[in-house]
């Protein structure tokens, strides 16, 4: 391989690294001060790109030249900064003290809102911005042409790093930010206007996200998928570099940019996997990232199901509900049965997550990993071995349980936000494998032809099969929650040190919880695959994980029945509302935000609380 090619490839890597750093730097800054992992950071990046791609051509029409181009980028970034201020004032300042799970979900609600708003405001088309005036000619480097705009990008990263350094070291605002990053209660105690400080930080963070997006317009078309793809990379950068550390983010972005540039030569189809494997490796070796410090504040203010004696009536209610469900085929049409089947499956999926979050206090943000493993395991069994449904679903469950064992072994050492990020990374690795390992998983094509055998082909039969299996597993899981295993998990959730002091093997129990939850989610995934005849990578995507979390939140994290009701309500709503409106994501996002702000205990939780208050 000739050296000039390597140089060009290294420069390509540097250009990507630089743009990634500018965006990730904003995320890590905001996290450092507010302790909130802002999922909506990627949306701000996307808005920056769309705004610049729309605005700059208009400015260039007025007066063509470099001034108009760069001014356009700056205006777009400032506009995004102002959106950041709105975001802080309207939402973030209300949830600084909320559990991490709710913070993540609320900012994800913002992501959904932006996805629909962007389509409404800028239209459904991808927009490629104009090329930078004065930088249209390529430059010859070692006999190869290299776009000169990329050189500007390469320089932009260190410039931003330098200005951040000056800002943080040489100004009063910077000193306050650094102080708040170390101990925000102390900063408040010293009489600093925290509200102003936090708002300004959000402006700066959003400005950087907007700038990162705006700088992309000559090379990448602004598109509606860029929010989730950049946020996943930004998470990797901040986690690898250490949450809150700006130099760490710079180093991590450099490593990732070069890994991708050279990874494409060695493993042309697995660039995404390499990136997330790097994250898993760094977290396994240095759980706080390269330059991160251990969390100053105890990370666990976990919420979860309360320990109360099971009511006499709950068994009766469960039997009545089961009987009602079993009678459904008598009255329902095929479509209703199909929806009911999906509700049962998603209910099991959400319930398995409840075991981790509600019982174990383990905020898993990548539960789709197990759902997808179960589905892919079953589908691959059909594709490779021609297995029937009866054999394929157990194989999927086995695969999901193995995934639970592997991922669990990595993450039980972590807690709080790092655990959430690590589970997210695990799910993203699997997503990347499913997406890029085309020979095995079919990539984007997925695997089709995963249909139930003739005896279970009728909708009524498949519904009853699903009902029997899910009901059986739910009973077993509920037993486990009220067994010593469940009590140990709850003890570890409420006070890790006391639980350890009385001799509980916390990590072992948590690891077991991951296996059990993984297997149950895998069962749900397998049933889902056969209900719709195909699998595709979206089963492993972030939105699937968030669906499970939303169901949990909607039903209530404090109760066992919560996730089941949440699944029913969310899926039924989605089914009825989605065909009627183009704003489903906007509505869903707003409802998630409202729930976090108004009923953080969910439907069942709120009802239970009202009953308790009356008593």
């Amino acid at each position: 391989m000739d050296p000039s090619f390597l140089v060009i490839q290294a420069l390509n890597g540097l250009a990507s690294a630089s743009s990634l750093f500018i965006t990730a730097c904003g995320l890590t800054l905001v996290f450092g001060v507010t302790r909130i992992v802002n999922f909506a950071h990627g949306s701000l990046y996307m808005v920056g790109a769309y705004t610049a791609a729309t605005l700059v051509p208009k400015l260039l029409d007025l007066s063509y030249g470099p001034v108009a181009f760069w001014a356009g980028l700056l205006i777009a970034a400032i506009a995004v900064g102002l959106i950041g201020i709105l975001l802080e004032v309207l939402l973030l300042r209300r949830i600084y003290r909320a559990p991490e799970l709710l913070q993540l979900l609320a900012t994800f609600g913002v992501v959904l809102v932006f996805q629909d708003l962007v389509v409404q405001i800028f239209g459904p088309q991808d927009i490629l911005g104009p090329r930078a005036p004065g930088l249209r000619q390529p430059i010859e480097i070692l006999g190869r042409r290299f776009p000169s705009y990329e050189l500007v990008l390469i320089a932009a990263g260190p410039v931003v790093l330098g200005s951040m350094w000056l800002l943080l070291r040489k100004t009063r605002f910077g000193i306050l930010i650094r102080a708040a990053t170390q101990d925000r209660d102390m900063v408040a105690a010293l009489g600093v206007n925290q509200a102003l400080l936090f708002t300004a930080t959000l402006f700066l963070g959003a400005f950087l996200a907007g700038l990162g997006g705006a700088l992309q317009i000559p090379r990448v078309a602004a598109n509606t998928g860029m929010d989730l793809s950049i946020i996943a990379e930004c998470f990797v950068v901040t986690v690898v570099g250490g949450m809150g550390s700006i130099p760490g983010a710079f180093l991590a972005a450099l490593i990732i940019g070069e890994l991708q540039a050279f990874g494409i030569l060695i493993f042309p189809k697995s660039t995404l996997v390499i990136v997330f494997l790097l994250m898993a490796f760094v977290l396994a070796v240095k759980p706080n990232g390269l330059f991160g410090r251990p969390e100053a504040v105890g990370a666990s203010h976990a919420v979860g199901i309360a320990s109360r004696a099971p009511s006499r009536w709950s068994a009766v209610i469960a039997i009545v509900v089961f009987a009602l469900f079993a009678a459904l085929p008598l009255i329902a049409d095929p479509y209703l049965l199909k929806v009911a089947t999906e509700i049962l499956i998603l209910g099991l999926f959400a319930f398995s997550l409840q075991l981790l979050i509600g019982v174990g206090g383990l905020v898993s943000f990548g539960h789709a990993a197990f759902f997808g493993l179960g589905a892919y395991g079953a589908a691959l069994a059909v594709k490779w071995f021609g297995a029937s449904m009866e054999a394929a679903i157990p194989l999927g469950v086995l695969l999901a349980a193995a995934g639970g064992a592997l991922i669990g072994a990595f993450v039980v050492r972590l807690s709080g936000i790092y655990l959430a990020m690590m589970t997210l990374a695990a799910a993203q690795i699997l997503y990347a494998v499913a997406f890029q390992w085309v020979d095995v998983t079919g990539g984007d094509n997925g695997i089709v032809g995963v249909w139930p055998p003739a005896w279970a082909g009728a909708r009524e039969v498949y519904y009853l099969v699903t009902l029997t299996i899910t009901a059986g597993v739910l009973v077993l899981l509920a037993r486990a929650v009220h067994a010593p295993f469940g009590y140990s998990l709850r003890a570890a959730r409420d006070s890790e040190s006391r639980a350890e002091a009385i001799g509980l093997r916390i990590r072992y129990h948590r690891w077991t919880a991951f296996i059990v939850a993984g297997a149950s989610a895998g069962l749900a995934g397998g049933l889902y695959a056969f209900s719709r005849g195909s699998v595709d990578p979206s089963l492993l995507g972030i939105p699937t994980s968030v669906d499970a979390l939303t169901m949990l939140l909607l039903g209530g994290i404090q109760t066992l029945a919560g996730p089941l009701l949440g699944a029913a309500v969310l899926h039924a709503l989605r089914d009825w509302i989605m065909p009627l409106t183009h704003f489903w994501r906007l509505l869903l996002g707003l409802s998630i935000i409202t729930m976090v702000l108004v009923f953080p205990r969910g439907l069942v939780g709120t009802l239970a609380r009202r009953r308790e208050e009356r008593a």
Binding site: M1, F5, Q9, N12, A15, S16, V119, G123, P124, Q125, D126, L128, R131, R136, P138, R144, R145, F146, P147, E150, R219, V220, A221, N223, T224, G225, S229, Q260, A261, I264, L265, P268, K269, T271, A332, D333, P334, Y335, L336, K338, F435, Q436, V438, G443, D444, N445, G446, V448, G449, W451, R532, G533, S534, V535, D536, S538, L539, W576, P579, L580
Partner: protein, 401 residues
């Protein structure tokens, strides 16, 4: 199955309630389900919807077919294989449609073909191009209108013979359509151009091309010909990076679909001139029937037609003819009427080959040229699909039925 619950009426709301009384006056309309990636691939699918809407309005203005109006219930398929079968199932079980048509992405089309086969319902793949739909995954219930990858690549490879290019690089999106096109290109170029070899293959994920890295990797292999299958945002970025780095200079480029207005317009004045492409030079086709279609379209939508517009218009007219010949909307009758049916379309006669359910719709092949501020095709020629189809023996061998 037609038990309609109270709640559903309430939720479906006014729309249905208002439609109710009007529908009682005359025979119930024929309900057809349509699904496509309207939000993710709007550049192609929105003009396509306008095309079928135009045809539908014309047909219903003339009283519909079999004395009944046609009603098309259209949904977004989410552009994933899983969502599409869900939506299809909703159309079939809730809306009670007689059959389905649509789809854009090839992987979604394959999933739909599988669904049609499983649920025994007619499905007309309008756009998806992968050979699998009429070959390896082809089945009794699935028909396709657009010329397949095998046909369009065949037309392009014929152009490559004269160019003298021997060292070929391939760039294709890494999913069903790109994989199928790359595979058939590799086969045909070796069969038809003696001494041709493939020196580089790049398969960026659909919608996620790293254009800079892809271009330098191709450059590294020093090809003298490039076969491009990317489209949409990937294509725009690939062309821009390729122009900036001089990748296309002195090379012979074959490109699928790039001459279609939906993919040309976003390139604006950065058209890579001289590429040999398949496309749709709508403004230069002088045939009066085609001209009438263009005029009607432009009057109705105040916009220029894309290839999607033409396809949507043709498909719904073909559906109308088929229903009329079948005399009912019963699945087997429709399938029988579709096989070997001849249609008189705005681009001339088209036959639906009964053996593999592939229509003989052709494609325009020409060279890209910059015309003022945007691109167009020059030196073009319409190739009838009939002479580029896979042989009957080959199709028979590939299909499982």
């Amino acid at each position: 199955m037609a038990k309609t619950s109270m709640t559903r009426w309430l939720v479906l709301g006014l729309g249905l309630a208002l439609a109710g009384p009007a529908a009682q006056a005359q025979p119930a309309p024929i309900k057809i389900g349509e699904l496509n990636s309207y939000s993710k691939w709007a550049a192609f699918t929105v003009p396509y919807r306008q095309g079928w809407q135009l045809a539908l309005d014309e047909i219903n203005a003339k009283g519909g077919v079999l004395g009944r109006k046609i009603e098309i219930i259209s949904r977004d398929d989410g552009a994933t294989t899983g969502d599409t079968t869900r939506v299809a199932d909703e159309l079939v079980t809730r809306e009670g449609v007689s059959f389905l048509f649509g789809s854009f992405l090839s992987n979604v089309g394959v999933a739909m073909a599988d669904y049609a086969n499983q649920k025994k319902i007619l499905y007309i793949a309008a756009e998806p191009l992968t050979d699998a739909i009429t070959m390896a995954q082809g089945n009794h219930y699935t028909f396709r209108v657009r010329p397949s990858n095998f046909m369009q690549v065949g037309m392009l490879v014929d152009q490559a013979k004269a160019s003298g290019a021997k060292r070929w690089a391939i760039v294709a999106p890494n999913y069903e359509y790109g994989q199928s096109a790359a595979e058939v290109f590799k086969r045909l170029i070796k069969e038809r151009v003696p001494g041709a070899e493939i020196v580089a293959e790049q398969y960026p994920a659909l919608g996620k091309i790293e254009a800079g890295a892809t271009v330098s990797a191709i450059e590294q292999a020093k090809p003298d010909g490039i076969f491009n299958v990317t489209f949409g945002p990937d294509l725009t970025q690939f062309v821009r990076e390729g122009n900036a780095r001089g990748l296309f200079e002195g090379k012979f480029i074959l490109s699928l679909l790039t001459g279609e207005p939906e993919w040309l317009l976003p390139l604006k004045d950065e058209i890579p001139e001289g590429w040999t492409v398949t496309g749709y030079p709508w403004d230069e086709i002088k045939d009066p029937k085609h001209k009438a279609f263009v005029d009607a379209y432009q009057t109705k939508y105040k916009d220029t037609p894309r290839l999607g517009s033409l396809l949507g218009y043709m498909v719904v007219n073909m559906i109308r003819d088929t229903i009329e010949r079948a005399g009912s909307v019963e699945t087997e009758a429709l399938i029988k009427a579709f096989k070997d049916a001849k249609f008189d379309t705005v681009i001339g006669p088209v036959t639906m080959r009964g053996l593999d359910h592939q229509s003989t719709m052709g494609a325009w092949v020409g060279k890209l040229v910059l015309k003022g501020t945007h691109g167009g095709m020059t030196d073009w020629k319409y190739n009838d699909g009939a002479s580029f189809m896979p042989s009957e023996a080959e199709a028979k061998a590939a299909r499982k039925d």
